[in-house]
Symmetry: D2
Subunit: 309 residues, 4 copies
């Protein structure tokens, strides 16, 4: 097996030299201000090694990567009943498409497109005030990452709330089909706050470690989810984690992953390692351009793929 530390370091160097940087998300004003030159990577192996390079300790807005954690919470709360309200299929449309919702009567295709994540937020709300739900999401992420310093960036949350009319449309639309229990603004409130969680690559790789480790949380011996549920979340990440670029990510990288419009990606090497990369420039599908390139190189260098030797 190749040396992981060396591979990670070489990738960070290559990314620093890369001419293509992508473009920052423009529709959330606060995210549009982030410096394109940044790149961070952390690999957390099942052997207990943590390799970092680049801006691995710079916090960024995890945005849609948070959907992995809220999905885990919602499954913990209501189990497979979740699947009556959200599907498990790739959408074939962009992350914020409403067309599919009209054709399929308010049932979003999967929990990782915006509409599906709004349903998940609605499940996490569970009749509590939004700040309670937001609090429990934040506590869960802190516990997974074993780091009490993780916080929500209120400026980003407000920035998204003020401009998130497309999400309001998705939520109102699902509510018109009865697929949202709480008032539209409460569900949106939870959603924008979960997206505004700020984490470093180091924290994110640690938080996602349980998905590589059969649902366990090695540091303490606690179990987060069952091995079967960990596999299933990984399956959803592979088929749906990169919106309309999921097939391409599976083809090129070959690992389950979930990207966020803040430029972060959490990738899972089942039985081996969790990986967090971050670089704010996005490709045409809204996924981190350098993050994807870095994961492709890492998978190749280490021979990591779920699809074969």
């Amino acid at each position: 097996m190749p040396d992981l530390t060396e591979a990670v370091s070489e990738i960070a160097d290559a990314m620093a030299r890369e001419q293509r940087r992508g473009t920052v998300a423009s529709y959330i004003p606060e995210l549009a201000k982030v410096d394109l030159d940044q790149f961070g990577i952390t690999v957390s192996t099942l052997d207990g090694d943590i390799c970092c390079a680049g801006d691995a300790d710079v916090p960024f807005s995890i945005q849609s990567v948070s959907k992995v954690f809220t999905l885990t919470l919602a499954l913990g709360s209501i189990g497979d009943a979740l699947w009556h309200r959200v599907g498990r299929e790739p959408s074939g449309n962009s992350f914020n498409s409403i067309v599919q919702l009209e054709h399929e009567k308010g049932l979003p295709r999967n929990p990782f497109i915006n509409a599906g994540a709004l349903v998940v937020s609605d499940v996490v709300l569970a009749g509590h005030p939004p700040r309670v739900a937001i609090g429990s999401i934040l506590r869960f992420i802190r516990w997974l990452a074993d780091d009490e310093d993780i916080a929500i960036d209120e400026t980003v949350a407000r920035s998204e709330a003020a401009t998130g009319f497309r999400n309001m449309a998705l939520a109102a639309y699902m509510k018109s089909f009865g697929n949202l229990v709480h008032p539209v603004e409460m569900t949106l409130g939870v959603y924008v706050h979960q997206c505004a969680v700020a984490m470093t690559c180091r924290q994110l790789a640690t938080a996602g470690h349980f998905l590589a480790d059969g649902g366990g949380r090695s540091s303490t011996g606690h179990r987060v989810v069952s091995p079967e549920r960990a596999r299933r979340i990984n399956a959803l990440m592979l088929t749906c984690g990169h919106y309309d670029g999921s097939g391409d990510f599976a083809f090129r990288v070959g690992l389950p992953g979930k990207s966020g419009v803040g430029g972060g990606i959490l990738a899972i090497v089942p039985g081996r390692a969790s990986v967090a990369v971050w670089s704010p420039g996005l490709n045409q599908h809204g996924n981190s351009l350098l993050g994807t390139l870095a994961l492709e190189r890492l998978a190749k260098a280490m021979g990591w793929s779920v699809f074969g030797p």
Copy 2:
């Protein structure tokens, strides 16, 4: 590790007792005549074991499972240039939808939906008469399966050709965008013949073995494709191999697979085994009902999943 022979035998027994049988494909008249009670399974491991149960030696129409083999041929012929004519994303629509083609200007989403497979057939044609292309497809499958007895069921081919107006529409539509080189009827001719190849589970598991074995063909030491290409074909099978039920198959079974409307499924356990199951009754997505159940049980019994321990 649990005993494979025992697991396979138990699954075949359970499937024989299963009350739900699904429904046969009705749109190809010849397939509608097949007896719903049949079920076969073959597992071919990298250790060289071949476990069969049920109707593993009854030939059936492989239909869309053939798309794995023609894709392999087309990639061998023109390599990554194929991806200029067909995408790599799940479609989010049924196998024969034409809506996506209009929105995306004649470029099919992936090589496993009908439109994409027609483009692949067009590539395999390569200026030759259809019978030459059909001959080379059949020779390739025989070589992979190491069995010269595999043949095309002309009755099925004729049955499909006489009623395949939806495929004619897809082909003509792509031709109007310049994404088909040969005349519509020639491409359709190749397509219906590749779908009409009849194989047993034993033959199919053997033919697909190279995808579990990093592209190699263990019996002779020949290499069919590179390890990277084998991984990539597996990735496509996982994200797109079951049409609009691909996400659900990944979620429940956790293995790359390609189904056919004849009731066959080829599934790959990378680094471990290839599996062929067959039972003609289909579920609502057009995939074998018992075949899917059997693969779900087998994956669980053997701890086989690409998504973790």
Copy 3:
């Protein structure tokens, strides 16, 4: 020319005997309570005759018929600049479809589908508080109908506001494309109040009279709109006034018309008369079943059609 009074009276009798009654709109709870047995008709000719029959003096919720009046107001306010924000084409979709908005970037197809009418309400708002805009709409309708007793049914407005998540989705969606100036809830407020205006057939036929009379308001000699604008509003009513049943209405009735989900229809015989019919039971397109039948009979009896003798 046949006798109008007789024709109107015969039609009212026939509608009273008609077995088919349609179904009331169920999505606005307050409207679902209305008695299906009611039918009213008023014809107001350019000669100054007013023929009434049936429940012509029973007030009903005009709902989308109000869109004719707010369109007239909005055109009076900003003129043809309106057409930069809303199209003039039939939609080919149901009245509350959001699919078209995604494909056409937040620009609704015409001012009579819900999305288009929301844009019109947004124009009428013009920076004022909603109650001011609602007040000016109500005053305009009272002036047209020459009747100060016309009022808004607040129970209906509240009923619609509480359940109108689909309209909230449309409004939020357009706002995400910048095609709504005011806050979503303000525009929705104006919209649900204009829809909740209650009028009798007599009042509605009088209010719509200017469209039959080249834009004039004969009773007082005032001009409401220019003859060209009257023709153009009639054209929009003919091509778009009955949602996805507009073509059928033009085919069968042959007159410009605008229907509302409360069961009312305003139809225009250019140069001859304005007609208001009302019966709360709807057909499959959401248009009054008996209202449409009555107009078809009236047009036939009187030889009224814009499409020829």
Copy 4:
């Protein structure tokens, strides 16, 4: 009433000076060769006057204008049973869209989009060989125009047949739903020949005269269709005659009309006149740019509109 001869002459002069010319249809190679500078107009009044100007005697390919004549033939043949196979609603999509067919199970929206016209051709075929159907279409048009010299331009027909894969797709698609009786190539054969009829403005205005005259054919006293059918064909022309620009044509011109991609438009002033204009340059909806402008001017100059004085 203004002087018609003068109005027609002024319009022809204005069109000759007009800088905007539009673009010729490029997808039928033979049509792409036509000179953009041409413009012709003929008005045939119910008083028996025929006013011509410009290139009124130059034959052009009538293309989709032919759909008015084949619809008339098909209605004469099977009457209202036609409406079980084709709808009467505007499509909300471009003339050759296949999306709507998938959503509505092979039932085209109206007889003037390509899919609907293919069904009409299929009805006219009626079990006969294509040349017989083509012959009866040509005879009908010659009889309507009272001119035996009208002919089919075989070069255009061949040009369209060789490249008409989109129409082949539409036909095959409908056949897969059972909405085409004859073989795809036979229906296509009739369709491309009816589109390739070449006529002058003078011939076209004469042929369409019956629609202005309540279904009669004044020159001989023969009745072509009943007054009701004439009105209904006019209604279809108004709501569906200009594809996705029908609403705009009704708004601006205010008359029933049917356009063809060859640059011709037949417009009807019910009870007054039939008008044929021709200029090969098309606007963004595929309708003659100058033809539409000329009709707008003519309608304004003469005060001709179905929507009011």
